[in-house]
């Protein structure tokens, strides 16, 4: 893990913190921001094996979601479905040093894996009445509220980038997980589209 005092977010050069102070949030159709440095831990195992699901629950306090493209959350920890035997444990920054060894310990003797991928991604947050319209310009998924709502996630393409999209509430708000090396491009693309709908920068 990078020393916290040296760490800069992938979108640091856009000066988002300063721009967030410029206001406009009350009238904005879209609020964009970055949620940097989240703890993201990739886990793999057999969801039909109670030893695996119990181990995950005992360490994280969250039930492993077995329904495709869903998220379970308890307290500060979310578990996002990636595949039939693959999930992300996502939480606040700097939890890997504690959670990774705990998960490895809990999985001992199982055909399971734990990999810290926190430094691979950053999260672009998008929220507001027009958020869906912005996403629809770059995502082929049907995001209509009857089809895709809070607590659902999907890995998909967004304007040529591979992303994981997670709807967090019905404002609607979404987290867009993207590889850091793609994040400069994806931010610029998203900001350009969002400008058409009244943009403010979130803190």
């Amino acid at each position: 893990m990078v020393e916290a005092y040296q760490r800069r977010s992938a979108l640091n050069h856009f000066g988002l913190a300063a721009r967030a102070n410029q206001g406009g949030h009350a009238t904005a159709g879209v609020i964009l921001g970055e949620s940097a440095h989240r703890t993201i831990i990739n886990i793999r195992g057999d969801a039909n094996d109670a030893a695996f699901t119990n181990a995950v629950k005992s360490v994280t306090g969250v039930d492993v979601p077995t329904k495709a493209n869903t998220v379970n959350k308890a307290g500060e920890v979310s578990i996002l479905w990636l595949g039939p035997d693959e999930w992300w444990v996502v939480t606040t920054p700097d939890r890997s040093d504690e959670l990774v060894p705990a998960l490895r310990q809990a999985f001992q003797g199982q055909h399971a894996a734990v990999i810290d991928v926190s430094e691979s991604r950053t999260v672009i947050t998008i929220s507001g009445a027009k958020a869906r319209d912005v996403l629809a310009r770059g995502i082929s998924l049907d995001l209509h509220p009857q089809v895709f709502g809070p607590g659902q996630c999907a890995q998909t393409g967004m304007s040529k980038c591979n992303v994981l999209l997670h709807q967090t509430d019905d404002k609607p708000s979404y987290d867009i997980y993207v590889l850091k090396s793609f994040s400069d491009y994806l931010w610029q693309w998203t900001e350009k589209i969002a400008t058409n709908f009244g943009l403010a920068i979130g803190a």
């Binding site: 495709a68 493209n69 990636l82 595949g83 039939p84 693959e86 082929s140 998924l141 999907a154 890995q155 998909t156 393409g157 591979n162």
Partner: protein, 98 residues
């Protein structure tokens, strides 16, 4: 452009997927290697079906769950007649009707 129903994620745009060519090609066992002629190796390595009709093929959900699976697709209409997991046998499909 067409929709493919990933057996794990559900219906997604074709652009999320990669194509993996003919399914159900069985690799020879080490015991069989020794017995195989060049012609049999060529058959295994290079010769592929190219039907006008139902084709059993592999796809991967590249931009989604990244899992491989099998698809039965009609090569003229592009109609997807079946989607099934890796390791499952090819389903019976009434090709006369199609």
């Amino acid at each position: 452009m067409f929709l493919i129903t990933c057996p794990y994620c559900g219906a997604r745009d074709e652009h999320e997927f990669g194509y993996g060519h003919e399914a159900h090609i069985v690799r020879p066992t080490p015991a069989e290697y020794e017995q195989m002629s060049d012609a049999e190796w060529a058959q295994y390595l290079f010769m592929r079906k190219n039907p006008k009709g139902v084709h059993f093929e592999r796809w991967v959900h590249t931009k989604g769950c990244r899992r491989w699976f099998n698809v039965a697709r009609h090569t003229v209409t592009h109609e997807i007649l079946a989607v099934y997991e890796m390791g499952k046998p090819a389903p019976q499909i009434d090709t006369e009707k199609k």
